[in-house]
Subunit: 335 residues, 2 copies
DNA sequence: GGGGTGAGTGTTAGCGCTCACAAACGGCTC
DNA sequence: GAGCCGTTTGTGAGCGCTAACACTCACCCC
């Protein structure tokens, strides 16, 4: 294994130039004669030459790899973000190395960051949607370019985030516009920034419409907890509209409503958040909010590359607006 | 940016030894006096020294990164596999670099493989569940250690795969045991090995029980197509049991049954495949087959590391048995 | 006492690349 | 024709590490 391929000098010899000229061709320097460039390129093709990144990284002191720290990568949201990041990074010539963490506490995060540093990443993207992660990041070594996604809005680390509040406002307004007096909210875990933002947007929309603001029903992100909350809401006749913090919660709520014989949307309207691919095939198809993963990925990488290239300036905060996807889980309230 | 940290010679100077001794400590060579080792380790901690992977990779000719080629990483299956791989790799001191492809044809795959090679990966895992990928892999350069997951059983490339047929047999037998005369199958795309294996297992179980074998209903993997197939099956009164090639198809079928007023499981039983986390919260909770992603990941990495280390021997084919997860979507047929 | 042995350490030579610098060349100005 | 520019190419050093080898001891055996 690990047979060494041809090196730059081999290409140089074949093309009848110095290794330095080959390097210049590879790095697209100006001041290489067209004819020389063609000769070098031909030699590269002929030998099947492939530049050695390790050697380049050694001398330049930076690699072409960015590390990502994420939790729960099997969930639709993180997985989508990861895929989008990978694609954007590839376009910029960077590879993406993932590091999953079980918990987003200081110890887990810095362990994975440390692993990334050992592997010599050029920069790190941390998907850090909870309080504990925010604190952990402040304590990280400053030597590495770092960007957080969905992180602490009050932190000092460069941040890209989906405008949770805007999405929640839209969802809530959509329900109010359908004629509901007020909207109940099944919220995500209290320590997630996403949860906080969605609660805030929901509350703002209600207040703006002069509607009553019921207490949010706390849950985690799972269909299981959505189901439990749904069981409660199903027994409350005054509930006609529910906005859940994500689609899986909505799924649980839908199942509970079904079991209690409360028809959706005829008796109760439901709106989710995330637009998972299956959302269109829930019973009934779910109206939800779609965050722009691709836009988030692009913004994150831009921010990171700016830091890697050493340019100090530019915005350190980017907000991506989500959009509402209307389906059949919303109708006018009964009566 | 990219401030160079302390190098091995700095550690050596502080510990009063040569850089080579530091290297020996780092690589756990024998023949280093305990006392010396402690002195070196103290110096490493004091300076916050971190070995430069690029330099090591340059001299040894191999990196500590493995590349993964996968399609559709936002789906539950691939995402789970990816996460499992990453964890197993981390334990072995390897980083995982993902490369998503839109299509599993020769061009896309070799482009991503090429990208991985440029970045100097030590080996590659290809998640290659379709015919076209199988062909593409045979044409890849042999110089790189390679393992396929869910790939072509007839190919020559080392392979780890879930025993699709065994899982399908179990699912089908489970339905037959519940008293159904026969079981209908909504199958995955024809060019997927997974589909073929599941069809085969389903057919075997029916034949073994002397049951009639209906024509499989072809679909893709989406809830959308499951829904369309479900609409058809719902109108066929003789259908009492359906085995779908994955859970999303089952979700679509469930929705169709619901719309046509056919109760599950009272009138029709349904079994899926994959055990996505939401499966327990479908209406009704879905009986399904759980493939062992962790086991697949572990086997793949073992196979890959064996190749990387140059050891030729060992099995080049590993099969992982899935298990049936019984929930409430299966009951005796009506009447 | 000469010559082995093995533990523990140091010296040297690259791995393949980029960077800084030098050099060669033609064309221009004065 | 001396001097200067801009273009095009080459030379040499060195990034931080490991592998190969050389060396120094202490210890043992005949």
């Amino acid at each position: 294994m690990a047979i060494r391929g041809p090196a730059m000098t081999d290409v140089a010899r074949l093309a009848g130039v110095s290794h330095q000229t080959v390097s210049r061709v590879l790095n697209k320097h100006p001041y290489v004669r067209e004819q020389t460039r063609l000769r070098v390129e031909a030699a590269i093709v002929e030998l099947g030459y492939r530049p050695n990144r390790a050697a380049r990284a050694l001398v330049t002191g930076r690699s072409q790899v960015i590390g990502v720290v994420a939790q729960n990568t099997t969930l639709y949201g993180p997985a989508s973000l990861l895929a989008a990041l990978e694609q954007v990074a590839a376009e910029a010539g960077f590879a993406v190395s993932v590091g999953s963490v079980r918990d987003l506490d200081h110890r887990s995060i810095s362990a994975v960051v440390e692993r990334h540093l050992m592997h010599g990443v050029a920069g790190i993207v941390v998907i850090a949607p909870v309080e504990s992660a925010g604190a952990a990041l402040e304590r990280l070594p400053k030597e590495v370019p770092l960007v957080t996604v969905d992180g602490d809005p009050r932190g000092s680390v460069p941040l890209v985030t989906v405008d949770q509040a805007a999405g929640a406002r839209e969802a809530t307004r959509h329900l109010l516009d359908a004629g509901h007096r007020t909207v109940w909210h099944v919220s995500g875990p209290a320590d997630w920034f996403d949860s906080a933002g969605r609660i805030q947007g929901w509350r703002e929309a209600l207040l703006a419409a002069g509607a009553e603001v019921p207490a949010p029903v706390p849950a985690d992100w799972s269909a299981a907890s959505g189901y439990r909350c749904g069981q409660m809401l199903a027994r409350m006749p005054e509930v006609t509209a529910v906005f859940t913090a994500n689609d899986h919660l909505a799924l649980g709520v839908l199942r509970a409503m079904h079991e209690y014989g409360r028809r959706v949307p005829a008796e109760i309207s439901v709106v989710g958040f995330d637009d998972v691919p299956e959302a269109a095939y829930f019973i009934p198809p779910l109206t939800t909010v779609r965050p722009g993963f691709a836009a988030v990925a692009r913004a994150s990488l831009d921010l990171l590359l700016t830091q890697i290239e050493g340019a100090a300036g530019g915005e350190l905060r980017q907000t991506i607006a989500p959009i509402l996807v209307a389906r059949n889980s919303v109708a006018a309230p009964p009566g």
